[in-house]
């Protein structure tokens, strides 16, 4: 995975919410989905995924249910709650504002005078 970027702190939760917003997923599925939607550009520390999922579940942004995976194994599936959807929208806006601001700041050229 050369060329991939490490996650900024605090962004894992946002990515998980985004990934799950596209449809219910089990833990491993969340990992694959994030890699997929980021075009393999983001590396997720796999060990960090499950504490984050548990945290989001506890905050009631996700809800979980045991179900059966594609290959007929028992797996825990996460889906977004209404609160999770709201949180995703807010954080996405916030993130986009931040990115715009950062981009503007970094693109500026020294003023001559």
């Amino acid at each position: 995975m050369s060329g991939s970027a490490d996650l900024l702190p605090g962004t894992l939760d946002l990515l998980i919410l985004k990934a799950v917003s596209l449809g219910p997923l089990h833990g491993y599925g969340v990992l694959l989905r994030i890699e997929q939607i980021s075009g393999d550009a983001l590396t997720i520390e796999q060990g960090a995924l499950y504490p984050a999922l548990a945290r989001l579940e506890r905050q009631r942004l996700l809800e979980a249910e045991w179900g059966v995976s594609d290959n007929n194994r028992r797996a825990k599936f996460y889906r977004l709650t209404a609160a999770g959807r709201r949180r995703l929208r807010d954080e996405t806006h916030g993130w986009q504002r931040l990115v715009r601001a950062m981009t503007a700041a970094l693109d500026s050229t020294p003023e001559e005078g």
Binding site: Q46, G47, A54, E57, K76
Partner: protein, 895 residues
Amino acid sequence: MRRLAWLTSGVANLFRRQRLESGVHDEIAFHLDERTADLVRRGLEPAEARRVARAEFGGVLSCAERTREAWGFRIIGELRQDARHALRMFAGSPGFTAIAVLSIAIGIGANASIFSVADALVFRPLGVRDPGRVMSVSLQPPEATRGIGSMSYPNYLDFRDSVQSFDGVVAHQLVTFSFAATRDASPDMRAGLAVSGNFFSALGIVPEVGRAFAPDEAKVPGADAVLILGHDFWSGVLGADRSIVGREVWLNGIPMRVIGVAPERFTGMDQYIRPAFFLPASMLRRLSQGRDRSVEDRAARIYDIHARLKPGASLSRAQNEASAAWNALSRQYPDVNQHLVLAVRTEFQARVRNFPEDVMTMVSLLALVALVLAIACANVANLLLGRARSRAREIAIRLALGVSRPRLLRQLLTESVLLAVAGCAAGIALATWAVRVLRDIRIPSDLPIVIEPRLDERVLIFSICAAALSVLLFGIAPAVSSVRTNLVAGLKAAVPGRAARHRMIGRSVLVVLQVALSMVLLISAGTVLEGFRRLLELDPGFRTDHLLMMAVDTELTNASPEQSHVFYKELVDRARRLPGVVSVTMTGAVPLDPNSQGETVIPEGYELRPGQRGVGVQLATVEAHYFSTMKTRIAGGRSFNDDDRATSEPVVIVNEEFGREYWRGQNPLGKRVRLSGAESPWMTVVGVARTGKYFFLGETPQPFIYLPFVQHERTRMSLIVESASDDPTALAMPIRQVVRNLSPEQPVYNVRALSTFYEQRALAIPRRMFHVVTTMGVAGLVLALVGLYGLVAYSVACRSREIGIRMAIGARPSNVLALVLRQGCTLAVIGVATGALGSMAATRALIAGLYGLAAPNRPAWVIVPLLLIALTLIASYIPARRASLIDPLQAVRHE
């Protein structure tokens, strides 16, 4: 059934926890399987794929743990896990567990029991509504440093009406009456409180049965013959008979209607006396056939005042306002009210001021038991430190497996908390027993004086705080030090050099501290014990054998002064003629009886301070044969005799201390003393009696005077009869008969052998305290010795490796032993020296604080240091010898 419910809920929890636990693991396992499958699909060998999947994932255990933590279930789960682990560990080392729990139990038990006594004597608030707002108002000459400081009733009424800071000001006075539950019952002497009409309402005391005084009652003198019973008296003596409310009882032969029963938690206005009844002060005059005019007499300063602060009013504001109100009264009635200062104090401040001996005794005992607890904690800390070392490997392994340090710390602390909980429970059980022993401290007298230590929620809270403190003391240091374990070194089970050195210094400091603390405790206990021992052997200045005492109060039959005079004269004459009687006398105050007499007197030639009306002094009104019957020695001059008559020259006998105090360096014989009342004549000192003990055995020498009964007749006297036989109580019946023949209605009380009275009044408490302190001392001794032995033995055992090396390079066992013993001896001596400094300070404080209850104990100063040094040596010797006997190679490898 309850047990079953507990079991099923426990099982349910177990399942739930297991489900969560396996949930996390299932999820991770699923993840790893899927990942492996993906990697295989990409062309890896299955084994390789699994390895890569695991490596990518990172620590499975730590991930699982962090996940559980994120859920928030972790704490509960972990605590259960920790507790289980700890219990397993305790079960695995029962000896350690038993000693640790026992140590804490002794520490907590001693603290809880002494606290329960201190609570009963000093700390327990009044049993009224919101007792924190109820203040004690005292009125005293400015130079007074202790005492209650009472007010007269007219002043009380004016004061009450002129202050705004209080929600209610009440007055109360202890009174004694003959009490009969029915008209025909034979009356008993009972103590009660004469109170202002607002007493119950202002203090917020709601009667358990019946009602309190109505607002219009207790205003008109003699109009309201109503009475409220004390709960103890009602339930204990009257059989908790609810139907008594509404009936009449007889006080001094006058019917009073019972209108209520006080609630159980209200036991009176001081820690000692439980009133049998409460009556309006307005009834006193009628009950005494007009003699008691205290309600109208502005000079009769006999009412104690309590006042409830208004919400929001501060103590200092109340004090200012109350002082101003008093100053106005003082200007208005200068003849009786001047030179008195009014002070508003919290109940606690008032108790400290009124009973400094109690407070000092309790503070000293609490300090002593705190020391016991400190030593117990030191023991447990040492035990835990020792275990921490043998568990270093276990801890290192768990750290290596990814258990976080805070988690491990918590686990170790869980063990400490469990120890403390078990110790606390055992300690409370111990205290329950101790309190039962302490509880029956009852001071025999016609006023039932009861000190009631009890295990209530206050003591429980105190014990739990003590236990929590002890966890801090003994748990944290060992836990922190174990968790700091260097991982690699811990696994290799060898202690790196510098850390070992630090630990050795640490252990040496611990040994020194333990020796020093133990010494302070043991010497202090010895000092107190010696004080009590001397008290028990003390000569009180009067004989106690062959004497019968019997109290009589002619006021209880409302006898006139003439009738009373005849009664006492006849009583003494007829008693003298009884067979088996050697001599008969009377006194107004049996020595050591709490119902003592006191007066303000003016010693001739003694310079009073400006405004001082006289000096307060304890006294006894005695019949002429008192000194010969009681064998109280007259050191100079003469005793009273039959030539002293009501009409002859007024005479008085003072004790040596009185002479020393007021006529320093002069012969008291021939000097004169006058009672401070305006028309009192001067009395000539005709004799000087030896100073004895008058109030309690531990008192400092007190000035005391004796007045002749013939010149100062009073209604309440105690007859003292010397019997020819060894059992004076055989005379009780014939003398009761004499009283009955003289005055059929006359109650007698306090009938007992003087030796019994002395035993109960003077010796019972010191003896019991002697036992308490002995028990505490022995507990402290055992704890200290066990702890010291364990610590020293452990610290020597830690050096097995060093001893092995020394032997391997040629040291002989004797050299090694000498080295270890020398070092042990050095530590012990340093400890003893440190302890001696501490003990000296403690002894001085104890002797100053507990006059007469503590005395230097020389043998203890010899025995205790020797014992501590000897024990240190034995504790060093045994493990050192064991180490020196084993094969050096083994010893080195063992480490």
